[in-house]
């Protein structure tokens, strides 16, 4: 995929309602939680899939770090997406698993169990759009030893 290094504030999110990004390019994913069923949803749901009610649903700011549950590096994709790129599933302590692109990491570096943190980046090709849009993703948490 084609990524820019910065998330510019005048680039639209690739999809509405999934995240919020501030002027300093930090942001968060928007989920929701059903307190009756103790389930967390991303994307956010206004009706719980388990009890089919909305009275215990609360919007939730999801945690910004998680553990890499699994990953892959893609070398062949649909037209409009530049390869190679990596994608994976990240488990957040909120109890929800997020599918997302993985940034700033090589295929060889990727390991199940890595600690990952949320970030935002411009992308060409999300949702089949030719223009740049803003997407979320995760990158490894850098530890200084």
């Amino acid at each position: 995929m084609s990524f820019s290094k910065d998330a510019s504030k005048n680039v639209k999110p690739f999809r509405e309602g999934l995240f919020h990004v501030d002027e300093d390019k930090t942001g968060y994913l928007i989920g929701s939680r059903c307190n009756r069923c103790n389930l967390v949803f991303f994307p956010s749901r206004d009706i719980c899939n388990n009890c089919f009610r909305d009275d215990q649903i609360k919007v939730l700011t999801l945690s910004k770090t998680g553990i890499l549950h699994t990953f892959t590096t893609v070398y062949q994709s649909r037209p409009g997406l530049k390869v190679p790129y990596s994608i994976g599933f990240i488990d957040l302590k909120d109890g929800v698993r997020i599918f997302a692109p993985l940034f700033d990491v090589t295929a060889e570096e990727l390991k199940i169990g890595m600690e990952m943190e949320l970030m935002f980046r411009n992308m060409i090709g999300a949702s089949d759009q030719q223009e740049e849009t803003l997407v979320y993703g995760f990158k490894p948490v850098k530890r200084d030893f």
Binding site: V40, H69, F71, I87
Partner: protein
């Protein structure tokens, strides 16, 4: 509500055939099925046609080319399970005494339709962010390797086995005698899956004549009874599901086993949806044919080979025949029939009495998947 039988089967050779239409391939399959069943084609009372991308009224177009039209035709789409759904609808139609003789048809033309990897609809969130069908499986492969110690070589061995099985199948153009190194040296599509870990692009059609007990008795021949059928769609999966186990495969299998009144131990062989090497592992376990994590040992010991204790994909599967989506499910029934009748030639499994066919297709963000169908056939 009587018994239901497959009376005859046919299929076109699965191959890249850019110049050929689904009408031509469909007619090839129907003609062979009608001859195999020894019926007059005008006895067909209804048609169920499975396909994914062939456009409106695909079933009717094939029937018009075949030369017999004006009867009820229903087109079905359930991604890779479309053809199996056609079999299932024909089965229930006959079982409920709606019709006595149905044609279940599956057709798909893929060459020329896609460039690059096939993905779920781009409206789907994960697809918009870069998920492709191969990557869906690659993600599970890494997880399975981490959990059970599966190696790339063991994955590759499944490709070797299924391509070898297809080599002895005159209905496949992709059969080859390759080795593990050939698989590992082929280009990486989506780590850890190499090109040979993925099914080749293919066009094809397959057909089955599904009849009531009354018709099977009257016409004779070698009918095989459909004793079980299960269909599920992916459940919503909040929280952390186990990516090394395919729950929807198990739920479809449970329904089929219950209907058939038998369990996984009584299945002699199976055609399992091996769109990628890892898929055969996940599904053989998901069907309950072996314990979780046990496929690693099965691969090493050749349990899944035609000569092994539990042959998987004797036809060559999707890895060996390609995967023309709508046709695959019906082509699996073709193989089950040939095996159960003792007509499988060099692919013949000794003493095959009960066969199982499994397909699973589609991807929907937040759920386990689109559709999964399990069908069980019993020999005479």
């Amino acid at each position: 509500m009587g018994k239901v039988f497959v009376l005859g089967v046919g299929m076109s050779k699965f191959a890249k055939r850019p110049e050929v239409t689904i009408e031509t391939m469909g007619v090839e399959a129907i003609r062979e099925a009608v001859d195999d069943a020894q019926i007059d084609p005008k006895q067909i009372q209804a048609v169920y046609c499975g396909h994914t991308w062939q456009g409106m009224s695909a079933g009717q177009r094939v029937m018009a080319a075949f030369g017999f039209s004006g009867i009820p035709v229903t087109n079905l789409e359930n991604a890779c399970a479309s053809g199996s759904c056609a079999i299932r609808e024909a089965f229930f139609s006959v079982k409920s005494d709606r019709y006595d003789i149905c044609l279940a048809l599956g057709v798909e033309k893929l060459t020329g339709k896609f460039s690059g990897a096939i993905t779920p609809a781009v409206e789907d969130l994960e697809a918009s962010l870069g998920l492709t069908f191969p990557s869906l499986y690659a993600l599970r492969a890494h997880r399975y390797m981490e959990t059970y110690g599966l190696t790339s070589k063991q994955l590759a061995k499944i490709a070797v086995t299924n391509r070898k099985n297809a080599y002895y199948n005159n209905k496949s153009s992709f059969g080859q005698l390759i080795n593990i190194e050939d698989v590992l040296n082929s280009r990486m599509v989506c780590s850890p899956l190499h090109l040979y870990d993925c099914n080749p692009t293919s066009d094809g059609a397959a057909a089955a004549i599904v009849v009531s007990e009354k018709i099977a008795k009257r016409i004779g021949g070698k009918p095989l009874e459909i004793v079980g059928s299960g269909l599920t769609s992916g459940k919503f999966e909040p929280g952390f599901i186990d990516m090394t186990f395919e729950d929807m495969t198990w739920r479809a299998a449970e329904e089929a086993y219950k209907m058939a009144g038998l369990g996984p131990n009584e299945i002699d062989f199976a055609e399992v949806h091996d769109c990628f090497t890892i898929a055969e592992i996940l599904r053989t376990e998901g069907l309950g044919l072996c314990k979780r994590g046990e496929m690693v040992r099965w691969i090493e010991e050749g349990v899944n080979e035609i000569t092994g204790k539990k042959p998987i994909n004797p036809s060559g599967g999707l890895l060996g025949k390609g995967h023309p989506l709508g046709a695959t499910g019906v082509a699996q029934i073709y193989e089950l029939v040939r095996q159960l009748r003792g007509e499988a030639g060099q692919r013949q499994i000794k003493g095959a009495k009960v066969g199982l066919a499994h397909t699973r297709g589609g991807s929907v963000t937040g759920t386990e998947g689109g559709a999964c169908v399990v069908t069980i056939l019993k020999g005479p």
